[in-house]
């Protein structure tokens, strides 16, 4: 029977020739990722309680990104505990305050087509951009993975999204995802969203990651994109070994999909999601003029080098308006370094932006840049649930880096097409 890419990976990881949607199988985990919030501080005590050790420290990646850098004694304690746990358990891969976990997995060349990966964070779907099956789990379940190296999967149905057409000016992958949150809804639970079509094939790895990252907002098990020469090129660029089968992990042509959606983006305008849900997305023109206290560029979704390039393209020759503030937290120290080297950072800082450390930061209501009651923010992040970025009485609009930057120039939600 023909299988989708996700089904093929689950079949391989569960040691079967064939799996079908709905079957429950146990998969061997190729790689497990965790961060400082849901990781060692949670499973350290649990492993002790069980008297168990990590099943394979060479297959574990730990990233400190939530409480970085420490702002008080408690965050310092959590970061130290994480470091100590990594040393004690001889974990092979540790990124300490170098950027956000999903981006560090990509920059470290850890993700390759065909892999089965578990992450202790909901946006672990991000990893699917590399043609692997990567889903998010909670701390107790990840404790189980740490002990056994295995996890159960109910083989999900796959939904295919075929994307065609060229991006209009100041339109990006983020606008596609906000549009899909409104059209496909956020209740695609226990399903895989597979992205394909000529537009996806022409997208960079950084932009592809936005599609799979926000599969979490569609409610999906994960998002996935078949590997190709662009995937192989990324691995080479990151100094990772390119596996011989890098181009072989593809779904069968006649694989069964639960649904197939066609999306032509030729005339897709920039999108904005109104408070308090990503599914409240519509064209930017429905929100232009709304006053914003804060403009935030950050998170795994919206602060990679490509996102900083979008911001600079809009900001060049402009200043941040009085009455608002633009905060920029690059998604990794490497993104910050590269943006400094190519002049991007100069444009952003000359406009008056405030640079913040690389980490999850205000996106998750942590660290610098959180909101007071009554404040409104436009953000390049992925979620705007009530209270997400600070006070329960604050409001967050989601948009692309282009749209956030344009809004910083006017102090109101603005159409970025007027600036590029």
């Amino acid at each position: 029977m023909p299988m989708t890419l996700a089904e093929k990976i689950v079949a391989r990881a569960s040691g079967r020739q064939q799996v079908r949607p709905g079957e429950i199988v146990t998969c061997s985990v190729d790689l497990a990722m965790c961060h400082d919030s849901s990781g060692p501080r949670r499973y350290g005590p649990r492993l002790k309680e069980l008297g168990a050790s990590v099943w394979d420290p060479t297959r574990v990646v730990v990233v400190s990104d939530h409480f970085v850098p420490a702002v008080d004694a408690e965050s310092a304690r959590i970061l130290k505990l994480t470091r100590d746990w990594v040393a004690e358990n001889k974990i092979s891969h540790f990124y300490d305050m170098e950027g956000i976990c999903h981006i560090k997995l990509a920059e470290g060349g850890h993700l390759k087509p065909g892999m089965f990966v578990c992450g202790g964070d909901s946006h672990s779907t991000n990893g699917g951009a590399f043609g692997c099956y990567m889903a998010g789990y909670g701390a107790t379940e990840m404790t189980g993975v740490m002990v056994t190296g295995e996890i159960w999967v109910k083989v999900p149905e796959t939904i295919r999204v075929n994307i065609t057409g060229d991006f209009g000016p100041a339109v990006s992958a983020k606008d596609i995802m906000l549009h899909l949150c409104a059209t496909l809804g956020m209740d695609n639970h226990f399903r895989v969203v597979e992205y394909g079509g000529p537009t996806v094939r022409s997208m960079s790895m950084r932009e592809r990651m936005v599609l799979t990252n926000m599969a979490a907002e569609l409610g999906a098990e994960t998002g996935i994109i078949e590997g190709d020469e662009i995937t192989a090129g990324w691995l080479r660029e990151m100094g990772a070994e390119v596996p011989a089968d890098v181009l072989d992990w593809k779904g069968d042509d006649d694989a069964g999909y639960l649904a197939q959606h066609q999306l032509d983006i030729q005339s897709l305008p920039p999108q904005v999601a109104a408070p308090h849900s990503p599914e409240n997305s519509s064209a930017v023109e429905n929100h232009t003029g709304t006053l914003v206290d804060q403009c935030y560029i950050g998170a795994c979704t919206g602060a990679k080098l490509s996102d900083l390039h979008m911001v600079a393209k809009v900001l060049k020759g402009h200043k941040v308006a009085k009455g608002t503030r633009l905060l920029v937290a690059p998604s990794s120290t490497a993104a910050m370094r590269d943006a400094a080297a190519d002049g991007t950072l100069q444009i952003i800082t000359e406009a008056g932006a405030i640079m913040l450390p690389s980490g999850c930061g205000a996106c998750a209501g942590l660290g610098a840049g959180i909101l007071a009651a009554g404040e409104t923010c436009i953000s390049s992040t992925n979620r705007n649930f009530q209270g997400r970025m600070g006070s329960g009485d604050s409001s967050v609009y989601l948009a692309s880096p282009y749209t956030v930057a344009a809004s910083a120039i006017t102090g109101r939600i603005a159409d970025p097409r007027e600036y590029v």
Binding site: R42, G144, G219, F385, Q386
Partner: protein, 165 residues
């Protein structure tokens, strides 16, 4: 078997950011729990009682992988959660911490303040207030042993003791 439990009823898309706000992540669990649902229903934490049942519409627990979302409900005394549909990580988290999560197509019939009796193993709910009965989707069979053990931690402990890890 859960008998005569008071219902706390919520709507669709109740997310992990309101169940466990990130603002309080650093606090010990017993301090963070008082902020559960404070932005949408501040009286919940004050009035919820041991054994009460949490009922919602679609997409219960959409959002983050944070286990504090179902953990807060369990710490506050919730004995079972019922929804028309669950977000996948929240569903797995609830079962892993030993909190029964039941998918019930008729959850909309249940109202705030109703009294329910629930048989999580049989997957049946009796609404004593309305004199109705509802059937839930069965909990996946492979998880029944873990649930009977009280969650993944006691289940792992048992397996490790038996040398089955």
């Amino acid at each position: 078997m859960i008998a005569s439990a008071r219902v706390w009823k919520f709507g669709n898309g109740l997310n992990t950011d309101v169940l466990a706000p990130g603002l309080y992540f650093k606090l010990p669990a017993e301090e963070a729990v008082v902020h559960c649902l404070e932005s949408v229903r501040p009286e919940f934490v004050k009035e919820v009682r041991q054994g009460d049942v949490f009922v919602a519409g679609d997409d219960l627990g959409i959002g983050s992988s944070r286990e504090q979302a179902p953990q807060n409900l369990k710490m506050l005394g919730i004995s079972a959660i019922i929804a028309r549909s669950f977000a996948r990580i929240f569903y797995r988290n609830a079962l892993n911490i030993g909190l029964p999560a039941l998918v019930c197509a008729e959850a909309d019939q249940i109202e705030d303040g109703d009294k329910l009796s629930i048989d999580p193993v049989a997957g049946s709910i009796t609404n004593e207030t309305k004199g109705q009965t509802y059937q839930c989707d069965p909990i996946p069979e492979h998880l029944m042993e873990m649930i009977a053990d009280g969650g993944l931690m006691p289940h792992l402990k048992k397996k490790i003791a038996a040398g089955q890890k």
